[in-house]
Symmetry: C2
């Protein structure tokens, strides 16, 4: 197994044997460890001393997402962000456990691409560099189409859009989906800007001839895979024609609205009267009407069983965009007071085309609306504002800097952010556990870091009263630790639904990892291994200047009651401090 | 002695007896203590829970500046900023040791003024509130002229310009000078925005009938005052027709340029070829030419002996602006590559008219120039950019947010800031001690917090090699402690030149304070009392989330050598940590 280092100062590369100490690390566990070990915590995120690390998960190459990590320009913290695509599978097939992008070119405003392929002669990966200036400024899909035309349809591409070129705090790294749509994003934390700051526009992988992932115990791996697959095919949330396959993640819109926890109009209400119009059910029904048939969802990543990625279609039946996720429909819909699915779809499409994170974009638009730049609910004006971001005008730059910076520049006090990253689609005043996760995760406000929504709202993995702060510090800690492990396996977090409810599925996940590594991890090790990762991430953040004063929600949530429950975020600071105090 | 509290939520006020514990506190010592004691460290600086505190110094009412303090929206730290004006004298004459502005109105975009006068009937100060909406958007001088016309020429006014209305991170509180120019600023740290966030546009004081400052020991006070006055009249820097009185603070331009420590073109060189054209000597000579006679400087504050405040005149001899300080001439001149005094003067005038800090404005313009918004040296374009700030356009808002936020939004990595506040006119790579002060002061980059330039460049208070880091942690600590005391006396920091070199002057300063308070402080107590203040400020910042990771200079200064000495900032982190490690 290798670590591949690409140095953008002189456009060179180096292949290293994976050190013994990293042998049992992958995905988030490895990106966070390399950043912890090699990046000066107080470095400028866009300076020459930051590093961008990609790492496939343990089981990637069979089926799974990749992790990307760096010190984040949005939050200043360590950052891991993952996406489902075939790109990490291509990386894993070359037995590269981590790809580390280092250095910075002297030239400003120039961009290159790294071409990674397999040298059959010596049985090693090889990297070539080419100028990428001709793709600068293009919409991502057009650029990807040109790249596929140039390098063939079988290559896998990781890249950035204009948002990354502009060094926006809100900028993702985009990977293709199965149908070569440039739409699967490591969206959060501004990792696109880190890539842009290194003058790296694309990493194109041609896996032809690569040996594929090595399995230490193929039988054990297969047994694990079968157990996990069975669980996924059985659970109501993840089974074929189940909730996710039918309605996509946007099935949550009506559920969260009902719970009074769907943040609306810049987090001023937990209920949106237009919610049904932007829900997963509305997407399913709308497509049925426009296509004349029922449309079930598809996989974003080869081999996925859950298949929750959707498309939205225009009145004439042609495809408008893929994918309208729950988070996107909420951020660009409810949080902006917009209840028109065609407007929401167009906003998602523009985010994809410019290289923006849909969550951060929606919450920023909502802050802009609070500042008076548009009326809440004005989808057309919202579309114009996203075009400003794409054009890089002064206004676009303000919005592209992310919600917290935009709020500061526009003079808005109600910034729904933690550690510089905007909150996703769950209101912490209505769902206390997720608020604890937002406050205390190493990543800035992030639901995927410890998804307590499962027991608090969905009755998955137990049951907990969303409005009560009782026992939630422990709950969030347990979820954060388990998640850090899942983020290392290479599996999508959505396996958690089945894994939490079906013990054999949980065992299957661990068996798979043991099958790949030849280890003997037990299910009891999962939280322990996850906590190890969290400890490194906390250590990095602490050295970067983060303290418990940053493990807090924005002040206004403590004194501004949220309708319809009219509750504030009443989790005491001591409970927030207890999450990691007992690490 | 009183504390006067103004609550802007309901526009009420309350007069409290000065508590025993605060009896020996004034100026910065009292603003920092009240903020430490009353403001939640993690509160939003522009939210209802922040407080804006004004406090005259111990000796104010005889002669001196006032301190204003709050949690800063620019830095997130505790903040004290002072200005020379008769306003604090009026406050002190009513025996008000602190004026605390609290709360926040529900209405957005509305402004009021507080009218403070003396009620002879009951021998107490009285406050009335009036709408101030008619002054919103006006240039500060026009607004002040209208206020003087309305309330009479004898009132004293503290207020904000449009920058404070817009809640800019770069926004000061403006006081009138002796000739009723609206030009003396508590400029740093965005205190204008704190005042603006409270809907408070002006505090107008009519001191008629007020009893004046009470002296516990008039003879001792007079003796102290005589000693200090003698020292000031003797020292080369502060004596009549001495350096400051003749050339103003801009006398430092040529000195710092010669030392290779005048930050030029966004801190990319320590020497500016156009320095002589924007120097104090050039101001003196230019005025002589345009007026046909030598013009010496004037006092900004009644009773001042140093009299370093200048004017710059147009070719026809009419006054263009007051005052072109060293910091302003550097920030809006050398740091932007501008060497035309008329352009610099116009930029200063616009800062005064809009309510902007000249330092933060100049360093922000330089960052904008690095981003390509104007060429370095293009004074006319710089003037246009400041007008954008005054108009509150998207571009103006970016620039008005301060240097660090502007750099982030514009994608500039070389942001010469510490804790969100931009560095003033001394290059830390060429003058190591001042770099230690920038890094470690509680205020964000601030030369006045520990002016080691005195021994490092001016051979005042000792001599130290500017390029050497040796012994500089101790030097900076000693200066920071002494300064915290001087900032409490109500004296301008410029007494330090005479006080450091002439022991009887130092004794005189302490005698004055003892004369006012009836205390028996010795010269040995000065650093001790100062350190007490610093300790409270550090405690506030720590609770607000600041750690030693924030006591650092920007990363680029550690790896980018500065011409002409081609040195980097090589003070080890351990030395920075030692400054307060031994508190």
């Amino acid at each position: 197994m290798w670590i591949l280092r690409i140095n953008m100062t002189d456009r060179s590369y180096r292949l290293e044997e994976l050190p013994e100490a990293y042998k049992h690390l992958a995905g988030r566990g490895l990106t966070s460890t390399i950043i912890h070990d090699e990046v000066p915590p107080t470095c400028h995120p866009l300076g020459p001393n930051n590093k961008l690390v990609f790492s496939p998960g343990f089981v990637t190459g069979t089926a799974a997402p990749t992790s990307a990590g760096a010190k984040s320009p949005l939050t200043g913290t360590i950052k891991e962000s993952n996406a489902g695509s075939e790109w990490p599978q291509a990386l894993a097939s070359m037995r590269i456990r981590a790809l580390v992008v280092e250095g910075q070119p002297q030239e400003k405003g120039r961009f290159w691409m790294a071409l990674l392929s397999w040298n059959k002669a010596n049985g090693k990966p090889v990297v070539a560099f080419e100028p990428a200036d001709e793709y600068v400024g293009l919409p991502t899909q057009e650029a990807y189409n040109r790249l596929f035309a140039r390098f063939g349809n079988r290559v896998s591409i990781a890249g950035i859009g204009v948002a990354g070129e502009y060094l926006y705090g809100n900028s993702g790294i985009v990977f293709q989906d199965i149908q070569r749509r440039a739409t699967r994003y490591s969206g959060r934390g501004g990792l696109g800007a880190v890539m842009g700051s290194k003058g790296l526009k694309y990493i194109v992988i041609n896996r032809e001839g690569a040996p594929g992932v090595q399995l230490a115990d193929e039988a054990l791996f297969e047994e694990g895979r079968r157990k996990l697959t069975d669980a996924l095919r059985t659970h109501n949330v993840t089974k074929p024609k189940g909730a996710l396959n039918t309605y996509g993640t946007a099935v949550l819109i009506n559920i969260m609205n009902e719970a009074g926890g769907l943040p609306t109009r810049n987090f001023s209400s937990g209920r949106f009267e237009g919610a049904p119009n932007i829900s997963g059910e509305a997407i399913f029904e709308g497509n049925k009407q426009r296509l004349g048939k029922e449309l079930y969802n598809h996989a974003c990543s080869p081999g996925c069983i859950i298949q929750c990625s959707n498309t939205w279609h225009k009145p004439d039946g042609s495809e408008h965009v893929s994918c309208v996720e729950y988070e996107s429909s909420w951020a660009l819909g409810a949080d902006c007071g917009i209840d028109n699915l065609d407007d929401v779809a167009e906003l998602v499409r523009l985010c994809n085309e410019y290289g923006l994170d849909t969550i951060e974009t929606g919450t920023t638009l909502a802050v802009a609306m609070e500042a008076g730049l548009a009326a809440f609910g004005d989808g057309k004006k919202a579309i114009e504002l996203v075009h400003e971001m794409g054009k890089g005008t002064p206004l676009g730059r303000i919005l592209g800097s992310g919600t917290e910076t935009a709020a500061r520049v526009l003079g808005v006090r109600r910034s729904p952010t933690v550690k510089g990253q905007s909150m996703p689609a769950y209101e912490p005043r209505a769902v206390k556990g997720i608020g604890i996760t937002y406050a205390t995760t190493t990543m800035g406000a992030d639901h995927t870091a410890g998804y307590t929504i499962a027991p608090e709202i969905l009755s998955v993995g137990g049951k907990a009263d969303p409005l009560s702060p009782e026992g939630k510090a422990e709950l969030s800690r347990a979820f954060q630790a388990t998640t850090a492990f899942i983020d290392s396996t290479g599996h999508c977090l959505f396996i958690a639904f089945a894994v939490l409810d079906i013990p054999s599925g949980f065992q299957g996940m661990v068996d798979e990892v043991n099958g790949v590594l030849g280890t003997r991890f037990t299910t009891d090790d999962v939280a322990k291994l996850g906590m190890e990762i969290l400890r490194k991430e906390r250590a990095f953040n602490e050295a970067a200047g983060f303290t418990k004063a940053h493990d807090r929600l924005p002040e206004f949530m403590k004194y501004e009651p949220l309708p319809p429950h009219n509750t504030v975020f009443d989790v005491p600071d001591s409970a927030l401090d207890a999450v990691y105090g007992q690490m």
